[in-house]
């Protein structure tokens, strides 16, 4: 077996790459939520003075990338690769942003799991000496996602308690060996798991089996238990999805207890009418690049496992009756 593999699905890094800089940006609804204090830049107007939501999203993304670069001594030309993804068709936010940056671009799509997918791929490149500096950035925008996946913004629909609210924001991180920062020590890329959930307003339920599958595989591969981590942070399962996730993990023999937090379920406050919680590529991205990294510097967390979840479907697939598949990628971030 390849030297840097561990168990069936996990990669262990020989020279763990560090997240030397991270930047986060989001809108006013996100500021008023539970993670508001962990966001670097708040924009008062989610439309970013742009004519369309799609343009607003890519402006958020571009700005957060510039802010992450500004925290380092690095220039755009020092970044070897920009790995990124978003929710919009053909990942237009990321690719148009890459056009304006002029950094070699690797576009990925893992739905809301894109940030961890990117961190994993970036860490492989840095650890393998294929790159010195890699930039990872993802974004999502409520208005743009609603238009693409659901209905026109002003339409008279009542959101269900189980439906989730796409986070408007973006986050970026820079991976390298030079400098100081929390290390990426392991990545467990997940399988696509589908237990037949068909309703697009039950995305948390559709993704929970994938999250449970990747988590249990990670524990088995690395011979760890929940006790080895200060925090197990899932992506955007939402309040209902996280209950199912905890149920499934319990059936597999692991009790998570207070170690587990779900970014989506905790993102907004109850009075913000966000249904089961936040979602979108920016959700766990803000959780990792904002909440986790800042709390690591404060000393609250030393070693965490971030488990980003994505729902792999399109409006076309569910209208044709296909079930919604889920994926989850787990990354270990260590600041000891």
């Amino acid at each position: 077996m390849a030297q840097k593999r561990m168990g069936a699905q996990t990669i262990v890094f020989g020279k763990p790459p560090k997240i030397i800089a991270s930047a986060t940006l989001a809108g006013p609804k996100e500021r008023d939520g539970n993670f508001g204090d962990y966001i670097d830049t708040i924009v008062d107007e989610p439309m970013m003075q742009e004519a369309t939501a799609e343009k607003a999203e890519r402006k958020m993304l571009y700005q957060v990338i510039q802010e992450s670069l500004a925290k380092t001594a690095l220039q755009e030309s020092d970044i070897n690769y920009y790995i990124g993804g978003d929710l919009l068709n053909q990942i237009i936010s990321s690719s148009y942003c890459a056009r304006d940056l002029g950094i070699p671009f690797i576009g990925i799509y893992g739905a809301c799991s894109s940030m961890v997918e990117g961190l994993g791929l970036g860490a492989v490149m840095v650890d393998g000496d294929f790159a010195d500096n890699v930039l990872i950035a993802t974004s999502s925008h409520y208005h743009a996602s609603e238009r693409q996946f659901r209905y026109p913004i002003e339409l008279n629909i009542q959101h269900k308690q189980t439906s989730q609210w796409t986070v408007s924001g973006a986050a970026a991180g820079i991976l390298t060996h030079q400098g100081e920062g929390p290390k990426i020590t392991h990545i467990t890329f997940g399988k696509v798991v589908d237990l037949g959930v068909k309703q697009p307003d039950l995305l948390g339920a559709a993704m929970a089996p994938a999250a449970s599958d990747t988590l249990c595989q990670h524990f088995a591969d690395t011979n760890t238990t929940p006790g080895d981590y200060d925090l197990i942070l899932t992506g955007d399962l939402g309040s209902m999805g996280q209950q199912l996730f905890v149920d499934l993990v319990k059936e597999a023999g692991y009790t998570l207890g207070t170690k587990h937090k779900d970014t989506g379920a905790d993102f907004y406050k109850p009075h913000q009418r966000a249904g089961a919680g936040g979602s979108g590529c920016a959700c766990i991205a803000l959780g990792i690049m904002g909440y986790v990294i800042k709390e690591m510097y404060q000393g609250k967390y030393h070693k965490i496992l971030a488990l980003a979840t994505g729902a792999l479907f399109s409006p076309l697939s569910y209208q044709q009756g296909d079930s919604i598949s889920g994926i989850a990628h787990g990354v270990v971030i260590d600041n000891t």
């Binding site: 004519a51 369309t52 238009r147 209905y151 026109p152 913004i153 002003e154 339409l155 008279n156 629909i157 009542q158 959101h159 269900k160 308690q161 189980t162 237990l195 037949g196 959930v197 039950l202 339920a205 089996p209 209902m240 209950q243 199912l244 149920d247 499934l248 009418r273």
Partner: protein, 153 residues
Amino acid sequence: MEKSAYEERSRYQQMVTARTPKPKYAKNIALAYLVGGAICTLAQAVFNAFSGMSLTKLEVSAATLATIIALGAVVTGLGVYDCLAERGGMGAAVPISGFSNTITAAAMDFKREGYLLGMGAKMFVIAGPVIVYGLVGGFVVTLIRLAFAGISG
């Protein structure tokens, strides 16, 4: 699909059903009644106002409908109708102002893709099925009526 995978799926489906929160029926019905009732009361006031003018009964109905449709479109344009529906649910969706909202909301949304391929083509993306099946339903009902009562009936 092999049997065990099928069993796993149906077992998970049961877990999902058990964890799905029950809608707050009493609250939803009360709010729908209030919002829908308010819209209908407004429409009745408009109807009464038009009745005072020298119009036929049919003309009064038409003028009332046109007024409520226009109001629905304006309130949608101001970005308020969706907030009304978020609380009032079907109370805001069922009256004709809700139908007006579906067209206005789609028109506003797709305008960014241009007047031709955006707004023009996609304005009826929500209202379209209502119109299509409304017409089909009307056609079938008329056919049945014709079969029993003949053309003169």
